[in-house]
């Protein structure tokens, strides 16, 4: 333990030196999303700039701070000054930022969106005072975007592994007691009390026990776990050590999607550093607790997020769920007692053990303690990764944090493909496990997808069912055959061949699958259909009776047309049309041959961005029958 304390000492000094650096420091948000938005080019450009101008500055690659709509984010810290953030930086806008900071030694205040901490500049708001950040509470995400995820020293400097040290000074039973007191529930979606799972496993007979970190984040539209691992891997690993100690496990496994290469790279790097600091292996920090962690890459199967399927996959089998009991806590991996915790659950633990259980209970409300991260995406002005207290209303999340929508709100999907689609009247619903379940949805792992009037509800339900049907492992009949049947009925409706009885069929199938399926995937698969049937019945009926799709999505109900009065004959659409459906000489209104049109949207896209013709091509659906 003394060796680590020394390391912490020097890490803190290094961290202080970075904060008070004599030369400017450039921080670039370089998680997967930042990189996709252009961070890689910006880092290369900064390095070139330093060389060409023979100036010195430190470049620090940090993780994701959350507001994806501001990506790529570049922060500049002048000697003695605070970190100042610039948003949506492009190679063109980076030039002046670097020029003024590094050559003229004068921070460019124009274009700065926010700043952090001490000796602040006038006229630039605090970053956490921004409307998206202000209502948020950062517990799990506290380090994301601040520290370099590839440096254990950064994590140590911000009190990393302090929680582990506290936990190791208590007995495993006391550790479980603390988690019980904190009220932490599984953040993977089901919300099972974490301490209960641990108690079962600790009490189970068997020499060898396993702890598995479930990082198989398969929900389309969710990226909380990826972001956390990419931005603060040590928090999750510290949580694994605490959990392993509590349940008496000596082996930990991280089961992570192969689609997250950067997260895997950062975990591998973090594990190497932990070994250097003797945080893995025999007798960790001088205690008699021994633990080691291995990474297992998933191979692309959504159902492997289910506990027993995940175990099957690690054992080298097809990832098919099995019936429970026995629960994994009694008989899991290789028949040994196993606890499977979600990334976020584990990432929360260091905070609880650093600040105490009572501190954690200050967040959230009775029965739903603490915070939850969400990936807020879809038709929203400020998409991103957010963290709020449990019990926050959907309205607060959509409007105050997300900044609302461009077009009128239609629905919000919580819990991914296993969740439900809620209409406007639920906006004042508090986001907690029980309230969401009562509305027919689930908390899920934390995907929140906002939809406006351009989203067709029938198409959305078909999309989700199509997804779960493809991912169904095929073991139990209700799920294998039932989801298939539901998809076929939904396709019929979206092609204009549906009948009113189909809605009853959907309902009956949905109820049967929910009751009869073997695992969570099947039991929750009908949720998107059942909730939309409840809250958006009219849209189904419009598809069936009026053969009309009000969102102008379902291809069988729409047609493309050139508005003759508006078309300037610019030929842009003629050039992009893949089937030659649009024709006409230059400077004369074009013609669109509906029999050749495959409704691919290419012409609509080019026309919309044409300043002169703007919207000369329209996509229309049938008139509403009165």
């Amino acid at each position: 333990m003394n060796r680590l304390r020394k390391r912490i000492e020097s890490a803190k000094q290094k961290w202080e030196a970075l904060q008070g650096s004599e030369s400017p420091v450039i921080y670039v948000g370089a998680a997967s999303c930042g990189k996709a938005a252009g961070a890689v080019q910006l880092i290369a450009q900064t390095e070139r700039f330093l060389k060409e101008n023979k100036v010195s500055a430190e470049i620090v690659q940090v993780g994701c701070i959350g507001p994806c709509y501001l990506e790529p984010l570049v922060d500049v810290q002048m000697p003695g000054g605070p970190r100042v953030s610039y948003n949506n930086v492009t190679p063109k806008s980076l030039g002046p930022i670097l020029q003024s900071a590094l050559v003229e030694r004068q921070l460019l205040t124009r274009g700065a969106i926010g700043q952090f901490g001490r000796n602040s500049y006038k006229g630039i708001p605090g970053f956490f005072e921004l409307p998206m950040l202000k209502p948020q509470v950062r517990v799990v995400l506290r380090n994301c975007g601040f520290i370099d995820p590839d440096q254990i020293d950064h994590y140590l400097a911000v009190d990393g592994y302090l929680g582990l040290m506290n936990a190791l000074q208590a007995t495993p039973e006391e550790v479980i007691g603390t988690v019980r007191q904190s009220g932490l529930r599984g953040r993977g979606g089901a919300g099972f009390p974490t301490f209960k799972k641990w108690t079962f496993c600790r009490g189970a007979p068997g020499e060898q026990k396993y702890l598995i970190c479930n990082a198989d984040e398969g929900d389309p539209g969710a990226f909380m776990n990826r972001s956390l691992i990419e931005s603060d891997p040590h928090a999750v690993l510290e949580g694994m050590l605490i959990a392993g100690y509590a349940i008496g496990a000596s082996k930990g496994i991280i089961y992570i999607r192969a689609e997250y290469p950067l997260a895997i790279e950062r975990l591998n790097n973090a594990l190497r550093q932990m070994r250097e600091c003797a945080l893995l292996g025999e007798g960790i920090l001088g205690s008699d607790f021994s633990f080691d962690i291995k990474i297992k890459e998933g191979a692309g199967a959504f159902v492997c997020g289910e506990e027993t399927a995940l175990i099957g996959s690690i054992e080298g089998k097809r990832g098919m769920p099995r019936s429970r009991p026995p629960f994994p806590a009694l008989s899991g991996l290789f028949g040994c007692p196993t606890v499977i915790n979600n990334v976020e659950t584990l990432g929360t633990l260091p905070n609880i053990f650093r600040n105490g259980a009572e501190w954690y209970t200050r967040f959230g409300k009775e029965g739903n303690r603490g915070t939850k991260t969400f990936s807020l995406v879809g038709k929203i002005r400020r998409p991103g990764l957010i963290e709020v207290q449990l019990g926050t209303t959907l309205r607060e999340i959509v409007y105050n944090i997300g900044g609302g929508l461009q077009k009128p709100f239609k629905a919000i999907q919580t819990g991914g493909p296993s969740g439900g689609c809620l209409s406007e009247e639920f906006l004042d619903l508090a986001v907690d496990y029980e309230s969401l379940a009562a509305a027919g949805s689930i908390m899920g792992s934390g995907g929140l997808i906002v939809m406006d009037e351009d989203t067709c509800i029938v198409d959305l339900a078909r999309y989700f069912l199509d997804f779960t049907q493809k991912e169904s492992c095929g073991k139990c009949t209700p799920c294998r055959v039932g989801t298939r049947h539901m998809v076929e009925v939904l396709e019929k409706i979206s092609h204009g061949e549906g009948s009113a009885e189909d809605l009853l069929v959907l309902r009956t199938l949905g109820d049967t699958i929910r009751k009869g399926a073997l695992c969570g995937l099947g039991q929750t698969a009908p949720n998107p259909v059942l909730t939309t049937l409840r809250y958006f019945r009219n849209e189904y009926l419009e598809h069936i009776k009026d053969r009309r799709c009000r969102a102008v999505v379902c291809k069988d109900f729409i047609e493309y047309r050139v508005i003759q009065e508006k078309c300037t004959g610019c030929q842009s659409c003629v050039r992009v049309c893949p089937t030659g459906a649009i024709s006409g000489p230059r400077a004369e209104p074009h013609n669109l041959d509906a029999s050749k049109c495959i409704k691919c949207r290419s012409c609509y896209e080019v026309c919309r961005f044409d300043a002169i013709a703007g919207d000369a091509i329209v996509i229309r659906t049938a008139e509403k029958k009165s």
């Binding site: 389309p220 689609e259 997250y260 890459e297 191979a299 999907q413 997808i449 290419s602």
Partner: protein
């Protein structure tokens, strides 16, 4: 047994739970799971070839034919779907004349759909050879693919 397979086997302990990691290494090395590699794995792990095919065909990651020169993966996560990901896929299938999971006859492109790349705020996204392109439109996509010979 080929040298490449030997190197892969040396990285893994002989055990049932090594099957998927070995398959992943083979795919990384060869680009696909060849019948010969399955035979070699079968001998090494003492699992029947049938069973190896059973496991590998369960997972979306594994492919059984040689890949094309460029892998094009269209994200069909929910955020991408509501922002037009499926239109992108339709256009690619039309334009390239192949379905998902196939390669173009000249082996220039592989087309795949992927459940979610986790870049939902940048949707719709397309991944070409591992690189993610954000906020893609039908026309941007057509332009983009021209750069991949």
């Amino acid at each position: 047994m080929s040298e490449a397979m030997k190197v892969i086997f040396n990285r893994h302990e002989r055990g049932r739970d090594a099957l998927i990691p070995i398959l992943q290494d083979v795919q990384k090395e060869l680009g696909y799971i060849s019948p010969e590699s399955v035979a070699a794995i079968s001998r090494y792990l003492r699992i029947s070839e049938n069973e190896i095919f059973g496991v590998s065909s369960f997972y979306a990651q594994f492919r059984f034919s040689p890949p094309g020169r460029h892998s094009v993966r269209v994200c069909l996560g929910t955020a991408c779907h509501v922002r037009g990901g499926s239109t992108l896929l339709d256009c690619l299938q039309n334009g390239l004349g192949i379905a998902c999971g196939e390669s173009t006859p000249d082996r220039r492109y592989d087309l795949e759909r992927v459940a979610c790349l986790g870049c939902c705020a940048l949707s719709p996204v397309v991944q070409v050879d591992g690189k993610i392109f954000s906020k893609i439109t039908v026309n941007k996509l057509t332009e983009l693919l021209k750069y991949y010979e």
